[in-house]
């Protein structure tokens, strides 16, 4: 074997070993490296009430209820299979609308309601001009406008 071929073999083996190690590490971190729980993963994770966690998902349509005090709201976060009720007190981000994504910092209360300390809006991968926005999103925006009045 020529030295050049030896070096090539060594390079190929080490590249494959590195990629393999990276994939194994990524798979092992699957749970830990997730930035938030979805309602489904939260339901399966057995998280103790009071432990600080993040919850993410879509804000269920028609679920935002604002209390008369003007700063307290409750809403439901959903993913494909499950839902989770959330209570929050404070100013909501501009992009916090029904049918859009949200990430909430907080903890599960003993009653099973997630109490959020802070809300971040999560944008999805769709980029749509305002005038072309489909019916659903328009109605969501409309809902937001009527709710904030």
């Amino acid at each position: 074997m020529k030295p050049k071929h030896q070096r090539l073999l060594l390079a190929v083996i080490s590249v494959f070993a590195l990629i393999g190690a990276g994939l194994i590490a990524a798979a092992a971190l699957r749970e830990e490296a997730s930035y938030f729980y979805t309602p489904t993963t939260l339901a399966n994770a057995n998280v103790a009430p009071g432990k600080a966690i993040r919850l993410g998902g879509m804000v269920q349509k028609g679920s935002i209820v604002r209390a008369p005090d003007g700063v307290s709201i409750t809403f439901t976060v959903q993913d494909k299979d499950k839902t989770q009720k959330v209570a929050y007190r404070g100013i909501t981000p501009d992009l916090f609308v029904e049918g859009s994504g949200v990430v909430a910092d907080g903890r599960l209360g003993p009653d099973g309601i997630f109490v959020a300390d802070s809300l971040l809006a999560k944008h999805d991968e769709n980029y749509v001009p305002k005038e072309l926005a489909d019916i659903d999103m328009t109605s969501a925006e409309h809902t937001k406008d009527t709710l904030s009045k």
Binding site: K4, R7, L8, A11, S14, V15, L18, I19, A21, G22, A26, L29, R30, A33, S34, Y35, F36, Y37, T38, T41, G56, P93, D94, L95, V97, S100, G101, V103, L119, L120, A121, K122, H123, D124, E125, N126, Y127, V128, P129, K130, E131, L132, A133, M137, T138, E141
Partner: protein
């Protein structure tokens, strides 16, 4: 077969003959396309249904992310060529990529942060995508320090080349981070299967990516030519010192 292909450009003189006239073409075409795409994106694209005008930062953010990641991929390929075939220009090109690559990774992080504040409500979160991109930026800094520490001017040490290959592990992690792990960052909009970005944004975005890429190519060629010139000066000084 590779030897002929690989070593056709091995001769720095031959490389310089091609690189010299190519540089201004890449540079001016790159500047024209980049400026055109940014003006198009800033003034002639519609506001987005949720993000409003904030969407327009995409015309800088996406090309910067692409070049930050593409740059390291280039470093890794050049490092393999350097270690396996001992190609004399491989180390020079890897080193020439490092500084522009780090710059675009930084631009990606900064523009993303500026976009995140109005969109998400925060400048920064430690999710998989943002963290792995920050790691890429730090890897660039490490690579630059390591390659500058080598004694040969312009050329890269083997340690730096090994570092370039190991660091490439991070590239698929950045790419897959939004799929493997739940993240604050949205999933990929443009995939092999298509795009979820409206045409009104997609076309100027492609022009912008093309423009920034040509600009990147021009920067790398300029840096390679500078490095080769420095190596020639150093060789001449050494010869003079010998007499």
């Amino acid at each position: 077969m590779h030897r002929r292909v690989m070593h056709r450009f091995a001769n720095p003189a031959r490389f310089l003959r091609i690189a010299k006239p190519l540089t201004p073409w890449l540079l001016w075409l790159g500047i024209a396309l980049t400026l055109g795409a940014c003006l198009w994106g800033a003034f002639f694209t519609p506001t987005e249904r949720l993000m409003g005008d904030t969407v327009k930062i995409i015309f800088v953010h996406v090309p910067a992310a692409w070049l930050g990641m593409g740059g390291w991929t280039g470093i890794a390929i050049a490092s393999i060529i350097q270690l396996v075939w001992r190609h004399p220009l491989a180390g020079v090109s890897a080193r020439a990529i490092a500084v522009p690559g780090a710059t675009f990774a930084a631009i990606c992080l900064i523009t993303g942060s500026i976009w995140g504040r109005p969109t998400w409500g925060t400048w920064w979160v430690w999710d998989g995508r943002l963290t792995s991109m920050l790691v890429l930026f730090f890897l660039y800094l490490g690579y630059i320090a390591l390659s500058n520490a080598s004694s040969e001017k312009g050329d890269t040490s083997r340690v730096a080349a090994v570092f370039g290959i190991i660091g490439a592990v991070n590239i698929p992690i950045i790419n897959r981070s939004v799929i493997w792990w739940e993240s604050q960052h949205q999933k990929a909009s443009i995939t092999l299967g298509g795009s979820s970005i409206d045409q009104a944004y997609l076309v100027p975005l492609f022009v912008s990516v093309a423009g920034f890429s040509l600009l990147f190519g021009a920067l790398v060629l300029m840096r390679m030519r500078t490095a080769l010139a420095e190596m020639r000066i150093e060789a001449r000084m050494r010869r003079m010192a010998d007499y």
